[in-house]
Amino acid sequence: MQVAVDPLLVVLLLVNFFLLGTSRLRALISGSASQGALLALLVLSVHGGITLQAALIALATIALKTIVIPAMLTRALRDAAIHREIEPVIGFVPSLLLGGLGTGLSLVFARTLPLAPEHAGSLLVPASLATAFTGFLLLATRRKAITQVVGYLALENGVFVMGLTLVEAMPLFVEIGVLLDLVVAIFVMGIIIEHISREFSSIDTTRLSSLKE
């Protein structure tokens, strides 16, 4: 099963570019959901078979990242009646270029870190850094609250991939705790988005600008 890890990571990186390039919010949410499914497959292939712990984590990942969270975001989208990310701070093409640059730099940086023999030559570390960087880019350059949440999810996905190098080490309940915290975080963000859209009749975070120096 180990052989499937790198191809899955390449798909993950491609989805990163899809997230950076699309302006349709619904596509953005689907992209994020597909990353969740990829992560679940990665968990199974890194564990090298279906152990109880791997199965539990993969199931929890699918349930939360591919079903629950996208459903919550889709509902928020419907309530706010918007479809597109308009006027990002950096345009779509420049942000794609930046994403490419970030992925390249992640590959270079990961080279400088000494890897354990079982991970030598694997894409796990660079893919983790590149996905986290994509999340950052989405968070920093997009204006819609939902896109920012998807950015946060991508950042979390990057951290999750790094966690895959530690499968033997992390106790199950810490991993479940991490996932649980994530879903509660998105849930709370969903509630706040609802309040934003009710109060400002929009989920454009540039309207959140009364507090500044």
Partner: protein
């Protein structure tokens, strides 16, 4: 015992969520605050407090922070019923349970010996705070909550990445990658240096965001400015202390792994930068609650600066952790009272607080002198200790800059505070709020601690701080 400190507040939170009465629910807070304080005093008296096979354990640093959190929560819980009685227009059905969950999670942070568990607890405090910040439900509080939630979550996610890096360093060293704090400190010399280095940077940025160090402090003025006084106190006194504890845990690992010099330089640099940023933004600040947020940024800078200097500075920094928490309680709660009475946070509308609210106004003024490090209040002692450490341990320039920043902050903050307390109050009274026992006595209690610690540090408190300092420096 170790488990009870976490489970008791959680049980109270469940009770508060189930309780139907809006009027009686807030009284669960002082009940839980008292029980938690009693448990803390009992735990501090015992030599060994541990649970679940070493996952939870009170070490010397944990003892100090637990004492601070418990005392501060106790004072806030005494204040809460009177405050919530004034806010009957808002439901406290979410507010009260979230405060109690916050207490449970901060106790869990303090006791966790597993760094993954500690991360889970820290993220849980971020989430428990979101409804607390959003208590007022107006446009500005939504904005503050959104920024807090997003920036806080990103910071904590980076800290998780750093924790994974650290675990990987251990895995590569053939330690089977345990994330237990004691194992990592013991085995730190064998950890891979590049991974350790990268992990410390990520963790410093991540938990530094949670502490509110500049330049990761941008959520702080918004959140503290819009939060009710109790929430401001708990964020600025308890949560920041817990984030600092997390930072110190990783500092210890980095120092044991031979990265001490790098970590100390980073801390001195960021500490001075935080103080400078606070000084600049306080200079013409018209919103006295945002001003308190910048004061918090300044004091977080002082805390890491003391650690960066090392030696006596570590003792000064940990003493300052206590003093800062208690003084921030005085400032935020009295500022909350003034806000209630005037219905405004701007120094343009608020004048003559000493006349309209003689007690809150006087406590706010005394709190200002304390927080800026004037004698005979407690922060003077700890700030003086840090300056002395800087001067005697070959950091004279740092010491001089430290004093300069303190002076700038004193002047900047003084302008706003004097504008609030002096003069004639405006004619009309928007809310008719007056000082009463329930909203003044808890602040007076905290002020009494500030004065006491300023003139005389009781041996038990001194031992708590010096044990924690010895622990951080790896001498215990």
């Amino acid at each position: 015992m170790a488990l009870a400190l976490v489970l008791v507040p959680l049980a109270f939170a469940a009770a508060a969520a189930a309780m139907p009465s809006q009027k009686w629910r807030p009284w669960l807070l002082p009940a839980c605050g008292t029980v938690h304080l009693a448990l803390t005093i009992l735990a501090l008296g015992r030599p060994d407090v541990a649970a679940i096979g070493g996952w939870l354990k009170l070490d010397d640093l944990g003892r100090l922070v637990l004492a601070v959190v418990s005392v501060l929560f106790f004072a806030c819980s005494l204040y809460a019923p009177s405050y919530l009685a004034l806010r009957t227009e808002r439901s406290n059905r979410v507010f009260v349970p979230c405060l109690l969950v916050f207490l449970a999670m901060t106790s869990l942070i303090v006791e966790s010996q597993h760094l993954g568990l500690m991360w889970v607890a820290i993220e849980a405090t971020t989430l428990a705070c979101a409804p607390l910040l959003h208590f007022n439900h107006h446009a500005r509080s939504i904005e503050a909550t959104w920024k807090y939630l997003l920036i806080g979550s990103v910071g904590v996610a980076l800290a998780l990445l750093g924790t994974f890096f650290l675990a990987y360093a251990a895995l590569r060293a053939g330690l089977g990658s345990s994330l237990f704090f004691a194992d990592l400190v013991r085995e730190a010399p064998r950890l891979s240096r590049p991974w350790l280095h990268a992990a410390f940077v990520l963790l410093f940025v991540g938990y530094g965001t949670k502490m509110g160090l500049a330049p990761m402090h941008t959520w702080k003025p918004d959140a503290y400015g819009e939060a009710p006084g109790i929430v401001g106190t708990l964020l600025a006194g308890a949560l920041t202390s817990c984030a600092f504890l997390a930072l110190l845990r990783f500092f210890q690992i980095a120092a044991a792994g031979g990265e001490a010099e790098f970590a100390r330089q980073l801390m001195i640099g960021i500490g001075l930068f935080s103080m400078a940023v606070a000084g600049v933004f306080m200079a013409r600040q018209r919103d006295y609650k945002r001003m308190l947020a910048y004061s918090s940024v300044e004091h977080m800078g002082i805390l890491v600066l003391g650690i960066g200097i090392g030696g006596l500075g570590v003792f000064g920094s940990l003493l300052h952790l206590v003093n800062n928490a208690v003084t921030k309680g005085v400032m935020f709660l009295s500022a909350g009272n003034i806000h209630r009475a005037y219905g405004s946070k701007s120094t343009e509308d608020v004048r003559g607080a000493l006349r309209r609210l003689p007690f809150s106004g006087a406590l706010f003024l005394a709190g200002f002198f304390a927080v800026t490090g004037s004698p005979p209040f407690a922060p003077f002692l700890s700030e003086f200790t840090i300056v002395r450490a800087a001067m005697t341990q070959g950091h004279a320039v740092v010491g001089a800059l430290f004093l300069l920043m303190l002076a700038i902050v004193f002047i900047g903050m003084g302008g706003a505070v004097l504008a609030v307390v002096q003069g004639e109050p405006p004619e009309h009274e928007p809310e008719g709020f007056r000082d009463r026992l329930g909203t003044v006595a808890p602040i007076a209690l905290l002020m009494a601690i500030v004065v006491l610690l300023g003139v005389y540090v009781p041996p038990s408190v001194g031992a708590l701080v010096s044990n924690a300092a010895a622990f951080v420096e790896g001498r215990r």
